[in-house]
Symmetry: C3
Subunit: 403 residues, 3 copies
Amino acid sequence: SDDGLYAFSAGLVMHLDIGGFPSSGPSDGQTGRFPKLNENARRLRLPLTWRYGNLMASLTPEWGRTVDGTAGLYEANMVYAGVRNSQFVLGYYQPRVTMHDAESSNGFMFMERASVSEVVRLIAAGDTRMTFGGRSHGERWYLGAYLTGQTYGDRTNDPTVSDSQVGSVLRVTGRPIATKTTDLHIGVSSTMSFKRNQTARGRVLSLSDRPETRLTNERLISTGTITDVKNVWAIGPEIGLRYENALIQAEYYHIGVDRNASASRKGPAPDLGFQGYYVEGSYTLLGKPRRYSPKDGAFAAPAPNEEFDLWHNHWGALELVGRYSVMDFNSHLRGSLPASATGGVRGGVQTVWSGGLDWYPSRHYRIQLQYNHIEATRSETAGSVNTRGRRIDMIGSRFQAAF
Amino acid sequence: SDDGLYAFSAGLVMHLDIGGFPSSGPSDGQTGRFPKLNENARRLRLPLTWRYGNLMASLTPEWGRTVDGTAGLYEANMVYAGVRNSQFVLGYYQPRVTMHDAESSNGFMFMERASVSEVVRLIAAGDTRMTFGGRSHGERWYLGAYLTGQTYGDRTNDPTVSDSQVGSVLRVTGRPIATKTTDLHIGVSSTMSFKRNQTARGRVLSLSDRPETRLTNERLISTGTITDVKNVWAIGPEIGLRYENALIQAEYYHIGVDRNASASRKGPAPDLGFQGYYVEGSYTLLGKPRRYSPKDGAFAAPAPNEEFDLWHNHWGALELVGRYSVMDFNSHLRGSLPASATGGVRGGVQTVWSGGLDWYPSRHYRIQLQYNHIEATRSETAGSVNTRGRRIDMIGSRFQAAF
Amino acid sequence: SDDGLYAFSAGLVMHLDIGGFPSSGPSDGQTGRFPKLNENARRLRLPLTWRYGNLMASLTPEWGRTVDGTAGLYEANMVYAGVRNSQFVLGYYQPRVTMHDAESSNGFMFMERASVSEVVRLIAAGDTRMTFGGRSHGERWYLGAYLTGQTYGDRTNDPTVSDSQVGSVLRVTGRPIATKTTDLHIGVSSTMSFKRNQTARGRVLSLSDRPETRLTNERLISTGTITDVKNVWAIGPEIGLRYENALIQAEYYHIGVDRNASASRKGPAPDLGFQGYYVEGSYTLLGKPRRYSPKDGAFAAPAPNEEFDLWHNHWGALELVGRYSVMDFNSHLRGSLPASATGGVRGGVQTVWSGGLDWYPSRHYRIQLQYNHIEATRSETAGSVNTRGRRIDMIGSRFQAAF
């Protein structure tokens, strides 16, 4: 409006994936759908924001996210932005935990976050999580702290939910070096689920992830359903170093699962531990390199110096990316004995090598090309898809518009 | 547009509920999910309107409403507004019946309408009802009359629907006193379902309501499924009296269920009668008191004199509210004999005492705090949740944005 | 924006249907829901477009389409419009095949396309189809060519899909006569599904259509599920002739189904052939007659000379329409022997005679009234709804807003 008090905006996040699996290894009785060709509406979001003075209300419907897209919700919340460089939020939100999660999905190096980041998000963060908290930043620091509840749709998906999860998210980062040629980012993320949703099966936990692509809905590794869970927590360091056009960044997280009293009455029920990490790098061949975004406490995507224009020999921005990522869902195993012998979990270890090219013809559009080589050790808890260990190759592409 | 012929607008209705049940009484074998802590996306609506001359088209997607929110529709209709103070509508609409229903949900005294209003709405009105009709008003009167059909999604939810409901809604109100200090509202609402949807189970009726909160999905009282229904009707008076900052208002409805010929062939099948009523009051402590809205034939919410601003000692508007509400689903009972002995219904009687505070920091935002004490006599038709009678306490809060 | 580089628009497509079946013929043990009165949210679309230079991104949520409306998606794609009179698209789209499909649904003569057009669309086109390709036109020609994949939601609806369909759409049309009084349109449409989605049942095909109305969800004719399908194709001519206020247009399509090697191992498995055609005419009684739209390669709706205004004796546009339409799902039958004797299909032959009136009070609104007489020969593959042949009458109306 003319007095600047009122404003409305409508944005768009469109991520369309096309690709498939040239090989999914010898099956040996293993199942799983790894199509040669597949298409996926990965993200179709309509971010709508109303502002009135210092208070904003956001509603973001979503038509992507699941196997093949479905009508749903990404966020619905109210934000108070009256304190400089800070935002305090109440409602359905994505409270950011881990460095990968802090990045905008429009600027990811790869089509998906590393598995450990996806898994840590699941504990008490992730999309459309009931959230109360805030974040604040300066040029050289970032702090985000949130209390969180259940996820939108939890009770629709499982009508037996009779008490809501309570959890927390804490992320603190610093930027000790900030020069024209060099940025150093360090940080710690942690999250905890104090109590899980109470369902007909009690307070349970099930962690898993797809093989760093959504072109299949299969999971090679999974903790299975862990019952009688007291609380779940994760903590770990983040690091990122930019030198001129090159960026290298890494994270490691340990996930702990504490069992409650009734767990041990049913057999061996040790507290469990899982871990994951990744190292990834980007080299910007054309255009402005990845730059540090203090408000996110993370690096943002490259940008064109000049937008793509064939007639003027302008080519936008181009970067070359690579990643090594491990997610380990094995805990408390003794040799090759079944996990039940010790009350542990043989969920499998997944290792993914990825390489790719990201092209940014203009500020609003992006095309990604990516190759994944996936290896997973056998899992007792991922169904019949990975009973013997598996090697799989994926080639994917993403076509992206963002307004 | 510049000639004023064309216009587009986008609004928002966001109601987020957080709360729970400090006590749900001794269970004695009774079941039911009354969580200590729960969260609910109560209303997430995006009202979109296109106007061209005197004709408007409205589309309002919805992401709230069910147990925990789901993507759906609130309204989709065309309105002719070419007659002064009148609107004629065709399409999916919320035709207003009862005084509570005539109020905007953004201005309710309590988080939910009184049970009797919810139940009367279910007969042939409610959200997303196929509607043809109109309303008109003057400074001292209101008339709304509608023919109504099935609800959006009826045939998706029950694919056996083979003939659509036909019903009607009529509401007439007057305002005999309209002075600066005093407003008196009187009125009559009535509704009728001439024929119910024809389904695989025939033409049936099932009325129930949650305990005046959506923080649980349980119903303590219910008519159960009444089969072989000829028609269903409801009628009753409305009254509201404002004196300066205080408003007291009340409604009573009688619901009649006429059975068809085949009902009596199966056993005793008397025509059934249910009733409900409530009395509620508001006292505005800060800001402008509730004011009469002639176009709705109902009172609207308080408004701030000055919007909340800590530094200038402005506190918006604040009101104190209380309600006593009864819904009686018992009909044709003989003592404590089972209802089947007489062909009656022992659906239970629910009484809710509520108190609360509503704070309006600005015209677009509101926070509600509310306490309910709920008592229900035993119900033979509400499943295992209330076989012996039950006393439950609820504490709830609502965070609301409306644009 | 001020530099013309950026633009955002929000449109609306609202089609609400009301009507029913005065008679559905003697049932003789046949089932089916043909309600006397029914209501349907046929199309509720919100077309949103963002433009940046020559690239557009479109997101169109949908709340209509299924039996009774449900929240879903109509399109989500990116379009390059940098070549004159051309559009190149990638994403979820409706690639147009057949002349009926090329028309805007806002301008259809009848409430639904002729059955053969609906059926041909199903093979490798239709709504929300993953598409890559383009179209181009001049004043007297049109060319559209697309590669297509699976439909949005295929894998949500059937999680066993393990490989995506690949298909194509090609449509070429000309306009040999283009004078003030006369337009002649000729064309050829073809489509092919090179490989079907791989599901738990293999690569299968199932073609069917409702009786040219969505006021029932029943299908009188259907191919049933044809297994072991190698590929499916359709080809046929289009013709349209306008002389002053009169327009007559017709299409014929042959649909071929080639079976793969494993089909013949299970019994007789001939390649199958189906066909359909229609002839329809429009006479514009009031207003501007249907005009040729070169960019669509099809005729568009009449338009008012002056918009409806009772006081000035303006009545908008009005047209009278009629259609004869046949869809034949019988193939390789020998007399009245069961289809299994020859490996053929007795899916039934449906003939629909339709007549109607379309009124256009203004450019944004339309009301349609329509009568269908439907006859279908018996079908072995349409379930119990049409085991003996059937005659049905339908009266329908559509209330439409388009912005």
